[in-house]
């Protein structure tokens, strides 16, 4: 079950107070989701500041942290509502606001959370060419063609803050390439086998019964 630290709990007390009207609170939560899922903001958060910008800033940060935690634990809206009620003592109106918006945005939130982490580069394309090495005319053992392969991958660039293309180059002989291809095929087979497990079909027992019984009736 989700646990949150006392600092955050204190800050959330503000969110449950009368510092914001329900209307403004809804706007703020919407802003939180927009900021977390990188959607375009409708109007600036500054318009909600009113007379207490520091309080609003704190509520904004704390609610955003809380929502990120929900997403991280993969809670469903019902669990969210329960948590807000039991742990944070929110009033029913605000619980409804948060859980409804959470239900609406949960998938996007999970997607964004899923993008954090180190992953293997994503292959989008491949370039290749074949070279043939001739050593001398009395070469007894032909070494065969050499394959030069360049996998085009997409990697996230920290400086540019966007995915960039980056090639992975390598060279291999026929045997090695065959090995690679077999490995890939093997992997595909494996995946297909796993996928097939999901729907094992029963043998056609019924048909056999029919034939067996048909004659004796």
């Amino acid at each position: 079950m989700l646990e949150i630290d006392n600092n955050l709990k204190n800050s959330l007390k503000l969110a449950n107070s009368n510092a914001l009207s329900d209307e403004n609170f809804k706007n703020l939560v919407q802003h939180c989701f927009n900021a977390l899922t990188k959607k375009s903001e409708i109007n600036n958060i500054n318009s909600l500041y009113g007379s207490k910008p520091d309080t609003v800033k704190e509520i904004f940060a704390s609610v955003m942290t809380l929502i990120a935690q929900f997403g991280r634990q993969n809670l469903d809206p019902l669990e969210v509502a329960q948590f807000l009620k039991n742990e944070c003592h929110f009033n029913a109106n605000r619980i409804k606001i948060i859980s409804e918006l959470y239900e609406e945005n949960k998938n996007d939130l999970l997607v964004v959370l899923g993008t954090i982490g180190s992953h293997l580069p994503h292959i989008t394309d491949v370039n290749w060419k074949i070279d043939y090495k001739i050593e001398s005319k009395y070469l007894e053992e032909a070494s065969g063609p050499i394959f030069r392969i360049s996998l085009i991958t997409e990697v996230f660039d920290e400086q540019l803050q966007k995915p960039v293309q980056k090639p992975i180059n390598f060279t291999c002989t026929t045997q090695e390439l065959q090995d690679l291809v077999y490995k890939l095929k093997d992997a595909v087979n494996h995946c297909e086998r796993i996928a097939k497990k999901a729907d094992i079909s029963e043998p056609n027992a019924v048909l056999i019964i029919r034939i067996l019984v048909g004659s004796n009736w």
Binding site: E58, F156, I208
Partner: protein, 574 residues
């Protein structure tokens, strides 16, 4: 029938219908179990249908449930006799028929849905993974430009198709106002006017990590402190050592310099002035002498070189002289020899014989050379032929090698296929004893063929009989018309013939009637047989006993009704 029963019972167990392990055939099914198996089957086929499991004690309730179930089975398309009585008092064959019909309609994947209820976290996770892989295998490729964070956001399910936009975990220290705690005015002012919002304090890609792990900050600070201390200590030690080393060196050099200075000073104090002057003069002289000595040495060297050159020349000249002397002597001898005639002739002869021998040798050489040359040529030819052959062989060999490779690949492929097929075969084999079934099927087919042949034989017989009949009929007709004509002709003249004709006519019509009745009889007999069959079928359905049962049920219901009525009246009285 045993196999059929076992398959049916297996299927029932698969849908979690509680069949005892001891039950092996449908004969052993009691009414409770029959009822339950129907209910389970219906629930699996259509999850919306809900019936209680187990027969209720009250007869009227039983009837109601049974009729409902019968309705459901009829709705599914069952064509046989189906009513409440079939469910409550089912005989073996009928039960088999109904159960088979139901099991045929059980959806295939019910196993999965049933199992999921009891699974733990890990198996659920594995199932989810399997499902995800299945989905991703069915998904078409989408260019990454159309994806948002690597996910196609036009669909409901989350399926990452591109990891290109995944960023690594980086946090930044974000400053948040804490308005509920006591803080100085200045800090509060800073919070109100200057502190930017969290979203502006770091980039989007660091926002979530920074927010989620802001409570890990103190740990970071602590680590930093430790590092700082360690570095400080290291720096201190290093500089101290260096400082000490350098100072040591300095002292040593200083000491050396001081010692040298002292020595020199002592030398200078010992020497005296007049001696010094003389010394200088002598030194200058020595210098001059050494200079001249150097010059002289150089001259000696050059002179030596010249000497050796001249010596070489002399040796060369001597050799030349010797050579020319030898030449002169040879020429003198030749002169002496040539001056005599005999010697000249001899010499000529020798020369001639020499030339002759040369020719001879040339001939000999020629004779020896030609066969060898021929042989050589043929050998060369042979060699080239062989080379060609070898080249061909090589080509063949390469081809064979290629073929070999191909065949090996094919073998691999086929082995893989074989493995796959074997796996499949095993999987299929596990569930049903295939060979037994096929044997049974083949036997049945043979039986059917035999029966068909019998039927054909009988049909042929009947056809032959029909033909005979038709033939006889024709004959009869013809003979009758002949007799008719003859007697009619006579009848004009004779009285007896007229009588005979009348008799013939009556005979004919009566015979016709008889034939008609016989055929009618046949038809009637056939009808009677049909009816008898129907009667037999009806008898086999045991309608009488069923009716008895129904009557019994009716009386039961009536009794229950009476009891209920009594209870109601009692309550009313009370």
């Amino acid at each position: 029938m045993e196999e059929v029963d076992s398959i049916i019972i297996d299927s029932l167990r698969n849908i979690e219908c509680d069949v005892d392990i001891e039950i092996h055939s449908l004969k052993d099914f009691d009414s409770e179990l029959i009822f339950n198996s129907f209910v389970y089957c219906l629930e699996v086929i259509n999850p919306e249908i809900k019936f209680p499991h187990g027969l209720p004690p009250s007869m009227s309730l039983r009837l109601k449930l049974a009729t409902n179930i019968a309705e459901c089975i009829k709705d599914l398309g069952y064509r046989g006799d189906m009513g409440y009585q079939t469910i409550l008092y089912c005989d073996e064959t009928e039960l088999r028929r109904v159960l088979m019909f139901l099991i045929e309609r059980i959806p295939r994947d019910n196993k999965v849905t049933n199992k999921e209820k009891e699974e733990g976290y890990v198996t659920k996770l594995v199932r989810q993974i399997e499902k995800k892989i299945q989905e991703s295998l069915h998904k078409p490729w989408v260019p990454s430009e159309l994806l948002k964070f690597g996910v196609d956001d036009t669909e409901k399910l989350i399926l990452r198709q591109n990891y290109g936009e995944c960023f690594s975990f980086h946090t930044e220290v974000v400053k948040l106002p804490k308005t509920l705690e006591q803080h100085s005015e200045i800090l509060k002012n800073y919070w109100i006017h200057s502190l930017p919002n969290v979203t502006e304090q770091c980039s989007f890609y660091k926002l979530v990590p920074s927010l989620l792990f802001s409570d890990a900050k103190f740990l970071q600070k602590h680590l930093l402190m430790n590092k700082y201390d360690v570095i400080k200590n290291l720096v201190k030690e290093d500089t101290l050592k260096k400082y000490e080393e350098s100072s040591d060196n300095n002292i040593a050099t200083l000491r050396q310099v001081a010692n040298e200075n002292i020595d020199e000073y002592e030398h200078q104090t010992e020497s005296k002035l007049p001696l010094e002057e003389e010394m200088e003069r002598i030194i200058q002289e020595i210098k001059a002498i050494s200079k001249s000595k150097l010059v002289m040495e150089k001259e000696i060297k050059t002179a030596g070189a010249k000497l050796s050159q001249i010596k070489d020349d002399v040796i060369q000249q001597g050799e030349l002289l010797k050579e020319s002397q030898a030449k002169v002597q040879l020429k003198k001898k030749a002169q002496a020899v040539l001056s005599k005639q005999e010697n000249l002739i001899k010499l000529k002869k020798i020369v001639e014989s020499g030339s002759e021998r040369l020719v001879e040798l040339a001939n000999q050489w020629h004779s020896v050379q030609t066969p060898l040359l021929n042989e050589y040529r043929s050998l060369i030819n042979n060699h080239s032929d062989q080379e060609l052959k070898i080249l061909e062989e090589n080509e063949k060999l390469e081809k064979i090698q290629e073929k070999n490779k191909q065949i090996v690949n094919e073998i691999k492929e086929k082995e893989r296929l074989e493995q796959q097929l074997l796996n499949e075969f095993e999987r299929i084999n596990k569930n049903v004893n295939r060979s037994a079934y096929t044997k049974r099927i083949i036997e049945i087919i043979a039986n059917i063929k035999k029966q068909e042949e019998d039927i054909k034989k009988i049909l042929n017989d009947t056809r032959a009989v029909q033909k005979d009949l038709n033939n006889l009929n024709g004959q009869l007709e013809r003979s009758f018309t002949l007799a008719d004509e003859l007697i009619f002709r006579d009848a004009k003249r004779e009285e007896t013939a007229r009588k005979a004709y009348k008799l013939l006519a009556t005979l004919h019509s009566e015979c016709n009637q008889i034939v008609q009745t016989v055929t009618d009889l046949g038809v009637m007999e056939r009808e009677a047989r049909n009816l008898q069959d129907q009667v037999d079928i009806e008898l086999s359905r045991e309608t009488a006993s069923k009716l008895e049962r129904v009557l019994y049920d009716l009386s039961e219901v009536k009794k229950e009704n009476e009891i209920l009525a009594k209870q109601i009246s009692k309550q009313q009285i009370n």
